[in-house]
């Protein structure tokens, strides 16, 4: 070993090796930290993969026994161990559809209010309030639905609906009595109220992303507020709005607690929206701990798999759409 010159001063070989040691230690620390963070990132991927694989393995017995019949039949009989998922799938889709039909127009109109009509000083408070409401756990909406909304609907709204549409061909089956209070319509309404803050805050964010120049140009031409919304803001943000709606739909499809309280848990497909039904998540929540026998448990896990696949597709589309609008803005 020779002496080295370091910063003008002569440094002994001893110092140089110590320095090299210290540097090596730092390098090792760097490599380890890099590997650990990378491992954590991979773990997130593994998590999703793990969920998929675990559900697939769990649902294998049911899918092997029933095959395609599992998604095409609606008998759900724990005693004879015959399980078909059609009724929960139908319930999930219909309640989410009701929720979106109500929440989307409301959400868009509120977002329009927040971005175009609302006085400046009120925008932040209302925006914050909506975001806070988006964070309230779904069980709160569920308990409210059970004790407040369901009795209210049973007493006032549902009898009126039955009476009003009693003589109109299609609508009379859609709103056929008796008014239970709980049922598909109530579940859809609760979901709508729950999803509303999501749809609103995302729509507001994408509306805000419209360059002011575009809107000002339209206003300068003499466009009314509505025309600016209709012909400038909506076309510009279409992809983002669809993404936001899909995100809300993903929430509605997978929502458990808000629905379980008010759906009635009846495994049959009824023509009437007022009849009790069930959804995938409500079925799992209600029956899983009481499920006796491997086939029963496995059928419930298979339901979970179906739900996961549906929401995965919906959420993937949502993210893709939101990503597209982000790229355009950024």
């Amino acid at each position: 070993m020779v002496d080295v010159t370091w910063g003008g001063a002569r440094v002994g070989a001893q110092d140089a090796t110590e320095r090299a040691k210290a540097l090596n230690k730092l390098r090792l620390g760097d490599v380890v930290f890099h590997a650990v963070t990378r491992g954590a990132a991979l773990l997130v991927l593994l998590l999703l993969g793990g969920v998929m694989v675990a559900l697939m393995i769990g649902s294998l017995p049911a899918l092997r026994t029933f095959g395609l019949d599992f998604v095409t039949t609606q008998s759900w009989n724990p005693v004879t161990e015959k399980f078909g998922a059609l009724a929960p799938i139908y319930g999930t889709l219909i309640t989410s559809l009701i929720a979106m039909v109500i929440a989307v127009p409301f959400g868009l109109l509120i977002a329009m209010f927040l971005t175009e009509l609302c006085p400046m000083w009120l925008r932040r408070p209302i925006g914050i309030a909506i975001e806070l409401l988006a964070g309230i756990p779904s069980i709160i909406y569920g308990i409210w639905g059970l004790f407040v909304l369901a009795p209210f609907l049973q007493q006032y709204v549902q009898p009126a609906l039955i009476a009003a549409f009693g003589n109109i061909p299609v609508l009379s089956t859609l709103f056929a009595g008796p008014p239970y209070g709980i049922g598909m319509l109530t579940a859809g309404l609760i979901l709508a109220i729950m999803v509303l803050p999501f749809v609103t805050s995302i729509s507001r964010d994408v509306f805000d992303a419209v360059p002011p120049v575009l809107k000002e140009a339209a206003y300068g031409l003499g466009c009314s507020t509505w025309e600016v919304m209709r012909y400038v803001v909506l076309p510009y943000t279409r992809v983002g709005v669809i993404g936001g709606v899909m995100l809300g739909l993903g929430r509605a499809l997978g929502e458990t607690m808000a629905v379980t309280f008010v759906i009635g848990n009846a495994h049959k497909i009824a023509g009437s929206l007022l009849a009790p039904g069930t959804t995938i998540s409500a079925t799992i929540a209600n029956e899983f701990t009481e499920a006796v026998g491997d086939l029963y448990t496995s059928s419930l896990i298979a339901l979970g798999l179906i739900l996961f696949v549906i929401t995965f597709i919906v959420l993937a589309i949502a993210r893709y759409m939101l990503l597209r609008i982000e790229r355009r803005v950024g």
Binding site: F33, L48, I139, R251, L315
Partner: protein, 281 residues
């Protein structure tokens, strides 16, 4: 100027404006009503006994002590498990692999996990923890909650580290700081309040989660600190009590719902205040 067209345009605008005002009114009123009913029902049942007594059998008085303790324990463990994993993954995406393929895939998957149905997480943990262990347990519930914590923390950590100015990193590199030390001592410090915000939001998110606990932690009528046994939690107790026919139980369910809502609101407001001061400074 064509008068008819002008009039119909005005009418259209008036209609849309009114619809917008009404929608906002109805929406806000509906959401306000939920909170008002909740506060009314919840406060009328609130007493010291709620925090000092265990959940009662039907027909007698009691509190929510075991449920509150169970919820706290599982939440804390979930945060202890989920936060490091989430932070490290977020660090990789923002610091090491900002533009590589792995990061964009993880980002996409993470966003999906962020809004994936939580009941599916419950099923997953049931399959991988409850079945091998042979029984329901508090630790399974905590792990299920941790799975929900991870994506929230990943997302905020990444976002917050992205906001750290690159000049800080360059300055650190220029004085010879290794990358890992730069991240830990410079980037983390600059993004600290943002990352804490993420953790607070994660706590808020899991404090009301019911579905993943239903068949992992199950429920326990008695006071229990044993993580290896079924454990009670506020949301599950609310679920059970609200659907029961007993009035005492329903009352307690409302009170529990109030406790959860207040803690979620406090956490979200604290998180907001934290990021607010960061932006201001």
């Amino acid at each position: 100027m064509d008068n008819a067209i002008y009039k119909s345009r005005r009418r259209g605008n008036a209609l849309a404006t009114i619809a917008s005002y009404t929608a906002t009114g109805i929406g806000l009123a509906g959401l306000a009503m939920i909170l008002i009913v909740l506060f009314w029902e919840g406060f009328s049942g609130l007493s010291l006994a709620v925090f000092t007594q265990n959940t009662p059998p039907p027909g007698s008085a009691g509190g929510l002590l075991n449920a509150i303790v169970g919820s706290l324990m599982m939440t804390i463990i979930a945060i202890i498990i989920g936060t490091p994993i989430g932070m490290l993954a977020g660090t990789y995406m923002a610091e090491y692999g900002r533009h590589d393929k792995l990061s964009s895939v993880v980002r996409f998957i993470n966003d999906i996990l962020l809004s994936a149905p939580s009941i599916v997480v419950g099923l997953f943990i049931y399959e991988v923890l409850v079945v091998p262990m042979g029984h329901f347990s508090g630790i399974a519930g905590a792990v299920a909650l941790a799975v929900i914590v991870i994506p929230v923390v990943v997302r905020t950590t990444e976002d917050m580290l992205m906001l750290v100015p690159n000049t800080l990193r360059e300055a650190a590199a220029s004085i010879g700081l290794p990358r890992s030390l730069m991240i830990r001592h410079i980037a983390y410090r600059a993004a600290r309040s943002g990352i804490i915000t993420g953790i607070l939001l994660a706590v808020a998110r899991i404090s009301g989660e019911t579905a993943p606990l239903l068949f992992t932690a199950l429920n326990n009528q008695f006071y229990s600190n044993n993580l290896n046994a079924p454990m009670s939690s506020l949301p599950v107790v609310i679920f059970q009590f609200a659907l029961s026919p007993y009035e005492d139980w329903q009352k307690l369910a409302w009170t529990g719902a109030l406790i959860i809502t207040i803690s979620v609101l406090v956490l979200s407001i604290a998180a907001r205040a934290l990021t607010g001061t960061r932006k201001a400074s």
